[in-house]
């Protein structure tokens, strides 16, 4: 046993390593990324890869699980949408080696497109779901998840949320690692899905649900505490907030903690409901536990009032907090609290939305396109990555953003609606490999006029600089053949492909104008590494004698390194990366390099 300060995601990784996981795959996505990174960093001989997308990750892991390996797949909640095709069918086939699919939900949302609830995927696919409430619990619970997976030959979902993923806690690590002796792949018709097999397996899955529900009623992290006529049901991080609120309010009631929201531990839930008048359900995202309890009350004719999101006693969007939970608990138990009043005289605070970093090549790329399209009707479809931040003023270059890879195809739909506009699609390198390629083929095949802008910064930047097929580095530390985006595009039939350094604004702009003049799909690849992986150039400075204070540099570029200084501007040397575009934009040649 050894104590270590670990982030929830690190605890999940080390818990999986302890459980004898043999193959780990995934695609980066906040708040899940550090799980796979930690497996790679502390690797005791496991195969670990960043797959090209979540669907591939789940399929690679499925193959290994068919051969008896314990496997883990990691992704964020929207990643499971991409992997839902293999997920739904794999639920019918099952696995031999334990498979845990870790899907991190993001209430808030803090860093995501949706507030979807992965517990629904468990219900939809009829798969068990584990919901940890702290890093130290996650460390042990993932081991349980592997055991249940093997006991029932089914993949299981493991669903932490941001506050578990990105919180640190003291975790007691066990040194001994569970040994898995994989049998290897044994040929059997059961690994090939067919309608007849699906029907037979569907019967088995339905028969398994009540058995799992019964089993989960005695699962160690599903628990009942306290007594009284009132009860609180909770799970995940909301359970921690509930404990905190009850401890602060010195409140007492019956508490039902649900660690496996699906299949619902019905027997334990009935024990909880018996003798209660009222129940408050405290959970984030959707009312999953609440609906299960409402259902059970109906099924067993229990006269218990269930309150929660459906009755507006708990907010139905955004993340919970100690305050929001304390307020709900105080009203429920009728223990008064003094709400914290906001200070009335607080000065106006600066608005600080996330922005593209100083020196970010995306700023130059967006600006070059914007200049090229000045005075023309153009629509700019964006995608998922750091470059979504190109939406901020003054660039204002993201007119649409939907999901991974959608910019390329949305631009095609816009073209069908507005053929007189120039329709641009921006996509980053990692997103291009993830789900961008089919959209390019679609445009080539259907002869759609769009301009594809590839923002190639040689990394997966937003999630913390993970390698991808274009970088030639793998998570096993190997160097693989770099896949060149220009060659992929050429092979797909894109006729006009130009590669530019975006920091050369004039030539970049000219290249965009030329691309926009072509019929069909034409591509401009803006290639320049992310500042986090490149060496900074010498910083720039403003000659205050030449600076007229027109602030054009600020108004055009919005670079965080350029600040107002009295009536002129100044470059913050600690932020500048020497990208030079402010010097190119300044009409008075007042900005210069190190010399």
């Amino acid at each position: 046993m050894a104590l270590e300060l670990l982030m929830g995601n690190q605890a999940i990784a080390l818990g999986a390593i302890r459980s004898g996981v043999g193959v780990v795959t995934g695609y980066p996505g906040t708040p899940s990324t550090e799980i796979l990174e930690t497996v790679a960093k502390r690797n005791p001989g496991i195969y670990v890869e960043w797959s090209v997308n979540e669907k591939s990750a789940l399929e690679v892991a499925s193959g290994a699980a068919f051969a008896g390996f314990r496997t883990m797949v990691t992704m964020k909640q929207v990643g499971l949408n991409v992997a839902s095709d293999p997920l739904m069918s794999l639920a019918y086939l099952g696995v031999k080696g334990g498979m845990v699919i870790v899907v991190a939900d993001d209430p808030g949302p803090i860093s995501s497109q949706t507030e979807q609830d992965t517990r629904h995927f468990g219900i939809f696919a009829k798969l068990p779901v584990f919901d940890p409430s702290s890093p130290e619990e996650a460390y042990l619970m993932i081991g349980d998840a592997f055991e249940y997976s093997e006991k029932y030959n089914t993949p299981v979902l493991f669903r932490p949320t941001t506050r578990v993923c990105h919180g640190y806690a003291t975790v007691d690590l066990e040194e001994k690692r569970f040994e898995v002796k994989a049998e290897g792949f044994i040929k059997d018709p059961k690994w090939a899905i067919f309608p007849r097999l699906s029907y037979l397996n569907h019967l088995k899955m339905e028969a398994r649900q009540p058995v799992l529900s019964e089993d989960f009623s005695s699962y160690r992290y599903n628990s009942l505490q306290g007594s009284g006529k009132k009860g609180i049901a909770s799970g995940g991080i909301s359970y921690a907030y509930t404990c905190e609120a009850l401890s602060n309010l010195k409140g007492e009631c019956k508490i039902f903690r649900v660690a496996t929201p699906h299949p619902f531990p019905e027997k334990l839930a009935l024990e909880f409901l018996t003798g209660l008048d009222e129940v408050l359900v405290i959970e984030e995202l959707d009312p999953v536990i609440e609906k299960e309890l409402v259902y059970l009350c109906g099924k067993h004719h229990l006269p218990v009032r269930i309150m929660g999101k459906l009755t507006k006693h708990i907010q139905n969007a955004g993340e919970n907090s100690v305050e929001s939970v304390s307020k709900a608990v105080s009203e429920f138990l009728r223990i008064p609290i003094h709400p914290v009043k906001p200070s009335e005289d607080m000065p106006a605070l600066p608005v600080r939305p996330p922005v593209l970093c100083a020196g970010c090549p995306h700023r130059a790329s967006f600006y070059a396109v914007k200049q090229a399209m000045k005075g023309r009707k153009a629509v700019f479809s964006g995608d998922i990555g750091c470059y979504t931040l190109g939406n901020a003023k003054p660039l204002d270059m993201v007119d649409t953003c939907l999901c991974m890879g959608a910019g390329i195809t949305i631009a095609q739909g816009l073209h069908r609606a507005e053929p007189d506009a120039v329709n641009f699609a921006f996509i980053g390198d990692s997103t291009f490999f993830h789900t961008g390629i089919p959209g390019v083929i679609n445009a080539v095949y259907n002869e759609t006029d769009i301009v594809l802008i590839i923002l190639d910064n040689s990394t997966t930047a937003m999630t913390g600089h993970q390698p991808h097929p274009g970088t030639g580095k793998t998570m096993m530390g190997n160097i693989s053949e770099k896949i060149k985006i220009s060659e992929v595009l050429k092979a797909l039939g894109v006729k006009h492909i130009t590669t530019m350094n975006p920091f050369n604004l004039q030539d970049s702009s000219a290249a965009v104008e030329e691309a926009a003049a072509n019929k069909g799909i034409s591509a401009v690849i803006f290639k320049s590494p992310c500042i986090a992986v490149a060496d900074p150039a010498p910083v720039f400075s403003v000659d205050s004698d030449k600076c007229t204070g027109c602030k054009l540099c600020i108004k055009e570029l919005g670079c965080p390194a350029i600040v107002k200084d009295n009536n002129k501007v100044r470059i913050d040397a600690s932020l500048c990366y020497g990208c030079s575009i402010c010097a190119q934009v300044c009409p008075f040649k007042a900005i210069g390099g190190a010399n």
Binding site: I110, L349, P353, T463
Partner: protein, 195 residues
């Protein structure tokens, strides 16, 4: 229980500072929990780290009006986090403001001094750290987090001594950054004692 809020702007190193506090407390046999801002907001947005040290800690998030200390990496961010502070809590804040692009574009004329004045009139125990001399002495602007950590330790807010944090830095930071960060830590501590 000691509750601590570290409030700053993405890129200032709040996560590392909170980790060093937590690691040091853990080394002393304390239970710790933290919550970090990681992801999109890190790109120049507001970031807040919550650190809780004690025996039984449920929530990783510090409740409002419960922080014993706020370490403000930037004046406005310290003010933004002020609702977390206890009545008798202490604020340690860097004097240096960071003006966001939105401020220049909208001509809102944000000045850190206005925020520091507000803190002076609303916080009973306030330590303002002038970080510029520390940056000059250390030859880097990347030591803000450690300098503030030194100031907080010297002010005795975590029940952790300067020497204990020094040991954590020696164990946890890459070799090439240890000397510079120890220098920043001590410089921050010295400034706090003078205040």
């Amino acid at each position: 229980m000691i509750n601590c809020i570290l409030a700053g702007v993405g890129g200032q190193g709040t996560v590392l500072a909170s980790k060093l506090i937590a690691q040091t407390a853990m080394g002393k046999g304390k239970n710790v929990r933290t919550a970090e801002t990681i992801g999109m907001a890190q790109r120049g947005g507001c970031v807040v780290s919550h650190v809780r040290i004690g025996e039984e800690i449920h929530s990783p998030l510090v409740p409002l009006r419960s922080a014993d200390v706020i370490i403000g990496f930037e004046p406005a961010e310290a003010v933004r986090s002020l609702p977390y502070l206890k009545e008798e809590g202490i604020v340690i804040v860097s004097q240096k403001d960071i003006k966001p692009v939105t401020d220049s574009l909208a001509n809102t004329n944000y000045e850190g001094t206005e925020m520091l004045d507000y803190l002076k009139s609303h916080v009973k125990r306030l330590i303002i750290i002038d970080v510029e001399p520390i940056f000059a002495a250390c030859g880097s602007t990347r030591v803000l987090n450690i300098a503030l950590l030194g100031a907080a330790a010297a002010a005795g807010v975590f029940d952790i001594s300067l020497a204990e944090i020094e040991r954590t830095i020696e164990h946890k930071l890459p070799q090439q950054f240890i000397a510079m960060n120890l220098k920043a830590l001590r410089a921050g501590a010295k400034t706090a004692i003078k205040e």
